[in-house]
Amino acid sequence: MNAITEHATPARFIAIRPRVPAWIANLALAGLLVGLWPINRLLVDQIDPYFLLIATTIGVSVILATSLNLVIGISGQFSLGHAAFMAIGAYTTGIILRHYKIVEPAHGAFQLAAAGEFAGAILLGALFAAIAGLFIGIPTLRLRGDYLAIATLGFGEILFVAINNTENIGPFMVGGSSGLYGVPIYRDTRFFWVWGFAIVCIVCTWRIVYSSRGKAFLALREDEIAAAAMGVDTTWYKVAAFVIGAFFAGIAGGLASVISGNLDPGSYRFIKSVEIVVMVVLGGSGSITGVILAAALLTMLPEGLRFLKEATGPAFPADQLRMIIYSLTLILLMILRPTGLLGRRELFPMRRRFARTAAGGTA
């Protein structure tokens, strides 16, 4: 009963053996990631940096929304602390790179080392976020529904106060309330990294949902008590969803830190978590493609308002207006269409044909 229930699980959620063998799918994924490199080069050379920056920021939002979708939309656990995991990733990555960044040479083996260092820093941030998710998840996931939301919110606020009051950890500067400045900005490669990780995140979520274990997550969302009665270890799956979500939120945070170059503890509070929730709810809680779509739309919204601001003058309160639009969207959406834009459908429902076969009992 925790989830936004539309109707009973349709047949297309029945997991079936994929038509494509796993190793081919993995190879295709690797190919996609390798192909992204020249695309990145091309875009950096050809496209206006402003638009490239927006495209990169959209990628970060996509990771955040997709990972929260795994927690809210697919496992039905309402978390209001996603931005806290983002903060852990952002600070870990930011602090490491600020201290140990290898000066990037033009080419050669050092470039590879720099890339490896970068990926390592991001993954370490994600690992810390996942560990935090584990420690927060195990006690709080005993709670249900609104209490879970409040408990995750509480952890987020505690983390904010902790970061806000920490100037240094050992030799590393954290920056306290004035924020962490001087994180290196990866101007030429950030698009590649962000969208590379975004693709990995989307594929992981996709594979989880359409695996046989994915059925357990979906069962948890539909009815926790019934799922437990059917032998699903509900605590294990809740914590798993939470930890995976935290891991990718940590990645998104790390990426965000090298996009802007400075970290402000205030920007990872409750409001940021709500922004991610709006993306999930607007896109259609549980729909992978819908949530990606909503993340892109809502990330572009402030840019649209910026043009409006230029038209009307500097006194225009763009940020407040953006939040007013967010809040009205939330209220009207909940009253008129609580399933979001796509409901639980996908933009490309590729497996429907097979699902019918599965429902017919032949698969």
Binding site: N2, F78, I150, E157, P317, I331, I335, P338
Partner: protein, 305 residues
Amino acid sequence: MGQFAQQLIVGLSVGATYALIALGYTMVYGVLRLINFAHGDVYMVGAVVGFYLARFAVGAGWGVAASLLLIFGGAIVVCVVLGFLIEFLAYRPLRNRPRIVVLITAIGVSLLLENTAQLQWVFGAQPQKYPTAIQLALNARIGSAASGIVVTRLDVLSLGLSLALMGALSWIVLRTRTGLALRAVSYRFDTAMLMGINTNRIISFTFMFGSGLAAVAGCMDGIRYNADPLMGIQYGLKAFIAAVLGGIGSIPGALLGALLIGITETMVKAYVSSSWADAVAFLVLVLILLIKPSGLFGRHEPEKV
């Protein structure tokens, strides 16, 4: 010892104001099982309305007593109407939807109020102080100066008003027909409806009463600190924590929880660190949820199939 007693008085005064907000959370949760996120922002609207009324009253040269009457009265009227409208427009269409849907709507209403207040032609993003005449009048000390303990008029007003309103609320809940209906709705919603209780009317009443209490708290904190469009987040959440600590749905629990939170916070601020004091309430929340989620006075509700 003197300092401890002093901090205790400040803590009681702060806690009494939390209690007024916590009551709104607890009453709404009692009837609807909804964490009304927007409640903290109704409290903020109370402070903002009070601010404008105070400026008007002082500008017109009114006396302190008349000004206070206008501030509190006007803020109560506006917030009662606001509370009714929020329930009527945003929550009533969602009466039979899953609780998470209503919770998300509540977050939406909260953000809407906060950001509307931040618009420069409504209030502006910066906190603003109440007129000094009002602040000076209420921060005046009373009692003996010999012991070194300072008790301000505001402390007395805060504690006195809280206890009086709490008494009024208890009387309504325990002694009137509306209160009986309210208890019935909170006990079992559907059955109450079958017994001929107009549940919508009761829910409206709950929202209006809670909003009125929040308005009083808003004016009090507005005078104590300042009017701030974002005050509803911080203080509202702490009041909610107080309600959870006392056992959400329980009226004496809200009072006790709020006083405990107020005192704990003040003590931490005085003896440990002022910058970490904001985390204390959340720490209490997490602990209480982990150890005894039903709170001090709450009743345990088993999850049914």
